[in-house]
Amino acid sequence: MIHRDPHPDEAGPAIKVHVTQGESHVSADPSVVMTTVLGSCIAACLRDPTTGIGGMNHFLLPDTGGRANNDNGDAVRYGAYAMELLINGLLKKGARRDRLEAKIFGGGKLFDGLSDVGASNAAFAERFLRDEGIPIVSSSTGGLSARRVEFWPASGRVRQRLVAVDNAPMEVRRPAPMPVPAAHSGELELF
């Protein structure tokens, strides 16, 4: 009889994949654990529970001075693209869009005196997932702490640890450079 460990992700050595800002990663390997550290950024962990294919992204909307929820803003286009990259990666591996479920993390307010970019990021992620019909099965957003997040895509398990700002790694203690939507559209000249 084969005994299946209820947490197969914890059996054997884990392959850690660190997902930094602007990246996304997809896997169905039970030995893979995706990790990230979040300040104002958002990490969306999406997964097809039937196939065990899951992935994580890590993004920060460009600060548009409180207009990040504006539907016609560059910020939303950037965020939608970050989510699209992750979803396309999952579908390419064999996940089905109608089975995807999400867990979202981050969107903290770590710095006084700055606009609450974290809240805008969290609001964007929630709205995007709602509009696309992808249920959010759990989330931890906002607050004044940084977060260390670990995601086992095969099982869907997530472990989060809150980190006081003073103890957080430098990558979240300094405001991350804002991403800029493509001003130019590639290098191939058609005209």
């Binding site: 539907d71 560059d74 995007f128 493509a182 130019h184 058609l190």
Partner: protein, 129 residues
């Protein structure tokens, strides 16, 4: 100079959010006749029922992807002259080269700006008013 308001556009993307963002960008440029389809298959049906002047299409879509849609458009005489702009990711250079072989008119890299999209369309139609 062509008027954007006289050019009919079909936006093809499987993500509702992205379709809404593209529609919004097109409206800012001045387009008024904008239709949407969630995948290549629906887009082809839509075009054969009612041709459009311009197709703006994503690449990764279920049922029929953007490249297959482009090939289908170019192989149907009633709609083969439709201007076709492909939306791609930054790493899709090979895809763009294949799209060029199949007759794409231009491509635009996501995440795009309104001005960037306008310039790409103007390279096909000329300066828009």
């Amino acid at each position: 100079m062509p008027q954007a308001s006289t050019i009919s556009v079909l936006v093809v993307d499987d993500q509702l959010t992205m379709r809404a963002l593209i529609r919004n960008a097109l409206q800012q440029i001045g387009f008024k006749d904008i239709r949407e389809a969630p995948d290549g298959e629906e887009a082809l049906k839509n075009l054969l029922a009612k041709p459009a002047n311009l197709v703006i299409s994503d690449f990764n879509m279920p049922k029929m992807d953007g490249l297959a849609l482009l090939r289908a458009v170019r192989s149907h005489p009633p709609i083969r002259q439709t201007a076709f702009v492909m939306l791609t990711g930054r790493a899709d250079r090979e895809l763009v080269q294949r799209a060029v072989q199949f007759g794409v008119n231009n491509y635009c890299v996501k995440p795009f700006t309104v001005q960037g999209l306008k310039e790409k369309i103007e390279q096909v139609f000329g300066q828009l008013t």
